[in-house]
Symmetry: D2
Subunit: 332 residues, 4 copies
């Protein structure tokens, strides 16, 4: 094991960027967060105290030139992911890019194409659930044959309400709920069923699209403890992940019954997965070992997400042939 | 409260018929099971011991003429439900008919039409979940506003594997899984969202239809403890029914973890609901009080079930206009 | 199986008496509740409607003379249990006597002595948990060796607050909490570990005895959902009964967390056990089959309960020798 | 917040020592593990790789002289705790000492006395449960009045079987199960009920002391998933901590039922508490802020643990007067 530390920089110090930066600075023993980029002076000010050993740049290209920099976390807004990831790869840096690579299939593919020209670099899309202890245990059990042949996968991802209206504004650029949020569920399906799985058809339904209730419904999905959960049904059993969510191990026995509190947001649920992600990405860069999954899956996930979004909007089911090409409804 | 007992007869002494007969004979204080019909001499023999106070007929029409008979339970094979229910109504008997009335929408409707000419009779389709304490509590909580405005209903019904091949033979006449089995889920949606709800579209997917694994898959859905469960998601909360199934209140702490056993079949789960059904149907007949739900919903449920079955077979989504008429895909 | 019905009478139509009477009248197919006794005219009036086929006596001795009466349920106040049970045995009736036989060991023993002179009679003390499906399943699992050698038994029984002050008045004659309430836990220990177990010592502690908070504490034990539960720890595993109590199968997902409601009192928890008790007692009487447990255990349970009550009051641990005789502390 | 890092040394690199060392080296951003002590050359060899930036000493006194050393973790065998803690205090180092300070009340008190002469030093006994998120949430809820007035505290601590015979050898010096293991439960009681609580009496029972099954029983307490748990019963509710233990969030649905796996040992359960402990101890040293609890409680805990051990051995209940002095049984 090399005792050398990985010199890494973090692009973006917003909500997720700040978390990545703190994880690499304080909870990733083999990494040094030497640089960070933010266009926001307030975030730069925050970093002066929170990240005392990190040089903060207001310009992304400047950060890439930080002496000795070996790797970059891209955790800016989704619209910037692909361009910044491509620039970093071209500057010969390893890249951990937040999901999705892009809301466009073509642009996502361009990141993969760029990376394929630099096979010595580690380029990973940050599907954090892949590093979660529960999802990993479920995968191992499935892989060991505990549930026979996996047949049905069911998964839901939710996000916490931001009453500031953040999501409504965010929705303009997010690519829609399937590309932004449920991309985690799609990625999990690709993981559990294998990236070589062929999608035959997709269909989406939602009440936000057909009623003037978008905001209120989002409120619902969050305020009430509708939580992330997944299940894999096999021919001999079922694995459920987070069907019974739990914050701490405390139960309250009250006159109204027995009550468990649950994590208030996805970071409360997945905090340790992000730390594991940081440590495993760092190890892969330093030891030149394999990343746990392929970058190309990130394009497949966007492709499926976009088809679901289209189905949601059109109300139609979308069919594919065995090579993955779309079949027009009139030709069915 | 009348102290008079309801004289009732049970058509069918097979799996469900025998249960109904025993429930009316032994667990329905206000009913007397005076008659039963079965074409099967073995079942007649069983009844001689199990139902000592009941006259057993090998001919349905004979049973209808039993002196003083006031009501009939129709619990024969699905293909006989409608005809026997109609005969009983015409003979001026109250009727509790097992679900579905028929696998055909038209035939189901003919039962409703016949009943509507005899408004003094109580005619009910046996949707047993409507009598389950858990489903009722969930309905009450929803009705009291506990989860805000109900928005999404999700429900699954499974059946236990019969390794004798019963289901494969049964499938020939059952009308398919949506009309036979998931009709419970459809009925629950009509209950929770109201019978006046308008269906906009239906779409079904399944792996049994597209793979030569029907039997093995059925095996799976049953042998493994995939259990009935439902959830109602509202704007301010969620109600889950049987998300954590439980047979007894025992938990086993073993080296492999903590384990709960669960009911081995739907009757283990719903036994008490069937007893409640028997008692409430009896009370409605004796006291001329209202049945808890309308017969016409049973036609709607078959209609939706048939559309789902068609969607499963064709791979297409099916759309309806606001009056419930189908819209051709080409006209969308 | 005899088709004859057992003619039974119920002494007491108070809280528990009324439940027993209704269970034998309506939920015990092989029994006829032909007679009942209550000294209370209001209860007699209630019975006129609720038990239309039952003759109600205001005098216990009169009830015993009811033509054809074969068996008696004793469900009056604890202080009357022994005398009424003895009278019934002497009148050659089978007896199901509510727990405890008496708060006095000697008087309890006198019931056993009387019964031993009439070995053809079925005389049982109503330890209802012995008929509960969960406790039975746990016993079976233990008996099959699922947890190795049973080593530790832990059990708690609670009762629901009666804000009328019922319990405070009741406490005057109840024999104290260990003889009245925790006698269930003691009986369970005798069941699970065997009636031949030798008690080495007992010690009791409680906050009700040392603080002026008796009533308020009782309130606590009830209002808050401190529920009955038991666990049997063995050398290879543990069985927990009702560690996670559950009323219906509904879970509420609310902003404050996930909540289950639980049965509001012991009858909500044990209703079906009482019905099973009624049916099994009836079957034993009609078929002259063995009762599931011996009457003598009821004396042992009172003996242990009295020792615990004494320990609670004196603050001392009480020791016994191998024959069950007490050892004075000064002789240890 | 000071950006300076705390220079700390770890005495002991055995089971717990190695964990503390790794936590301070890799998961405590404000600490530098500059030194370590172990008398074991194999552990020194392990440290060369695992703790590349730490100087390892084979002599404790040498380690205390490490340049700039400010604080010491004492994680050696229990018999060395007190002497090493006292030496460190005398050398003007902050001390985090593993529990118990000693198995002797007097020796434990001598650590407190030494520390009281150096009030500028932070000296803490490592009761790790005090840093656990679940125990803290339960304390906060109790403190906010969620369960009314706390009345009963029930708690159990178990350890994992070490089939090497480690525990049997260890037992010679451990001070017995109450001082070594259940001292956590005692400390929790002092925390939840307040360190000023007066103990009136203690009584202990156990099957290990009276049967030749010590080893096998220990095996049991561990191999089977008897897990740590606590509950606080108040006048208006109950708080349960880890009544339903959980390793990951995965549930297995199998033919035998629904199963959760649980953490295999106490470190799996409390790993994050140890990390929090390391970070909070470091912050208190650097910022000269208050430790979360007083050192003197560690003496009280040993005192109560010794009395319980004595009660276990003698079979007697032990009484104390209001000042904490023992009352002889003959004087009661």
């Amino acid at each position: 094991m090399s005792q050398r530390k990985l010199k890494i920089g973090c692009a973006g110090l917003g909500r997720m960027g700040a978390r990545h930066a703190l994880n690499f600075a304080n909870r990733t023993p083999r990494a040094d967060l030497v640089a960070a980029f933010t266009p926001d002076p307030k975030e730069k000010e925050w970093a002066a105290t929170a990240l005392p050993n990190t040089t903060v740049y207001l310009n992304y290209d400047e950060m890439l030139k930080h002496p000795g920099l070996e790797a970059v976390i891209v955790a800016t807004v989704t619209t910037a992911h692909a361009e910044q990831a491509i620039k970093a790869i071209q500057a010969d840096k390893h890249v951990l890019c937040e999901k999705p690579l892009s809301t466009s299939v073509e642009i996502s593919q361009s990141v993969v194409d760029t990376a394929s020209k630099k096979p010595h670099l580690k380029v990973m899309c940050g599907f954090s659930r892949r590093f979660d202890a529960s999802y990993r245990q479920a995968y191992d059990r499935m892989d060991q044959g505990a549930i026979g042949r996996p047949s049905v996968f069911r998964s839901q991802t939710c996000d916490k309400l931001d009453p500031s209206g953040f999501f409504v504004a965010y929705a303009e650029f997010s690519g829609g709920i399937f590309v932004d949020c449920n991309i985690h569920d799609i990625d999990l399906a690709l993981w559990y069923f294998g990236q070589d799985s062929v999608v035959k058809s997709v269909v989406a339904m939602g009440i936000t699209a057909v009623q003037p209730e978008l905001r209120r419904h989002k409120d619902v999905d969050n305020g009430i403890g509708i939580h992330d959960m997944s299940e894999i049904i096999g021919t001999e059993g079922k694995l459920a992940i987070n069907a019974n969510p739990q914050g701490t191990l405390v139960e309250m026995h009250e006159p109204q019954g027995i009550r468990r509190e649950i994590p208030s947001d996805y970071y409360g649920r997945f905090e340790h997965a992000f730390v594991t992600e940081a440590n495993e990405f760092t190890a892969a860069c330093l030891d030149n070992s394999r990343l746990p999954f392929k970058l190309s899956g990130a394009v497949q996930a966007v492709q499926i997400g976009c088809a679901l979004q289209e189905s949601l909007n059109s109300g139609q089911k979308i069919h594919f042939d065995e090579t993955g090409r779309r079949i027009e409804t009139s030709k069915l």
